[in-house]
Symmetry: D2
Subunit: 151 residues, 4 copies
């Protein structure tokens, strides 16, 4: 399961991310994230605190800026194009808050047919689109439950 969110986040988003990380680890899921700060770091802290495995796919050529809570930090050297790798490698994506990078992960995940769960993230609309196809969760528990359902 991939957890996506911005490096700049509110306290509430960080708390939710850590809780999502903890719940995923307890459910035995391996977690993938962007490996940097903010939501990514909080998620990693939640995962490793619960004894789980979390992989960070970093944008840079080295591990600069990597969260210290990752089990493994993998430098991709692909910049933001690495967002496509994060969602490709995951079975489901949980998006928490988020800025443009997170939106790109939501969109790429939907494009390649992955299950996407939103927790206080973007609202999307387009002419002719009845619903945006993102599963809306109200809590970390619901987000994790929705993400793992399809696994």
């Amino acid at each position: 399961v991939a957890v996506c969110g911005s490096s700049v986040a509110t306290d509430d988003e960080l708390a939710r991310a850590e809780e999502v990380g903890r719940l995923l680890a307890e459910a035995g899921a391996i977690v993938i994230c962007g490996g940097l700060g903010g939501v990514m770091d909080a998620t990693a802290r939640g995962v490793t605190g619960a004894g789980g495995i979390v992989i960070g796919l970093l944008p840079g050529e080295d591990r600069l800026g990597a969260s210290e809570h990752l089990t493994v930090a993998l430098s991709t050297g692909m910049g933001e194009t690495r967002n496509g790798l994060i969602v490709r490698a995951a079975d489901a994506v949980i998006a928490i808050g988020g800025e443009w990078g997170t939106l790109s992960e939501i969109a790429l995940a939907k494009r390649i047919g992955k299950r996407v769960v939103g927790l206080g993230t973007w609202e999307l609309s387009r002419a002719g689109l009845a619903a945006d196809g993102i599963l809306k969760a109200k809590s970390p528990e619901e987000a994790v439950s929705l993400a793992l359902e399809g696994g």
Copy 2:
């Protein structure tokens, strides 16, 4: 300039894409697109019809499904992750209509600081976001003008 849009598009979107392609070529801009059908094919037809150069960055490992109107068809073998390459290579992005793939290109382009012009594309909102930062165009002329302004 990159022009993004879906392989499934309305007649109106196709007409606008061809017109955008023609105008970009007349302005001397090199056009980059996803290289397949629909909006991508119509854009390419507009560009080459006006004597311009249009590069298609294809998702597959070969040129299967490539528009016949491309100057050059480049297979990337990266699937939808190639969307990151399209916006990275461009100075500005024009999004026409579009489905999830187009949204991912809008988001990635905004994420890496590129100018994004929308022509009948997604409406986005997020708590705490005053405006979505996409320049809204009402016509192909306005879209091309907005895209080239920042060049």
Copy 3:
């Protein structure tokens, strides 16, 4: 540390790969490989047998053909271009036997300044090149020792 080698390998190469995996795990190193069969599978078996962590970066869009001994199987959907990711993510590369894919990993690793150790792999020469810059190991022990030295 990345361990590279072909999916088609001799019994001797497979035995060496498993031993390299075991020694790396015992040294506490995280192992990265291409995630498929042959040398990759044998390495993964060695790592997990010794309680270590091994990540497979798969070429395909799904986990088809992945070794069952991986701690985490990450689909990249980038085909052989994923070889660049394997060496980018590693601090050192051990090449065992190997065909063209392995040679590409050796060359990419040298190109970006990574330490490369060869265990019965390619011999390279070029006009004007005094030595090929690959550290030659005679045994799995020596390969692991050379790879970790620079860490």
Copy 4:
């Protein structure tokens, strides 16, 4: 056709690269290269001097260091991993001289079944490998002829 070679090259290699570029353009082939200096720049000069089209796939996030002789300079932001894109996009590869980057392109091209022509490039050997499978050319004319034969 892709032409590969190092940014640091001898006068003889540069003259051969320019001649290869010219001959490919005269044969109507579209040329792909790494877009930087040395062999890449000389090839591009040969192509555009003969009125052909040459695309440079640059490693960086912007066009810094791009040859001024390219028809189109595409920034990939993927570093040396872009070498995989160069050979994926081409039908055949001509390697001129070259350092590690060129060797990675030769190996990746062979790995994915592309025709590879060498012009004063690496000599490769491996236990159990009768021949290295690279077509050896003695002149730019022979290199271009061998590269286009399989088209």
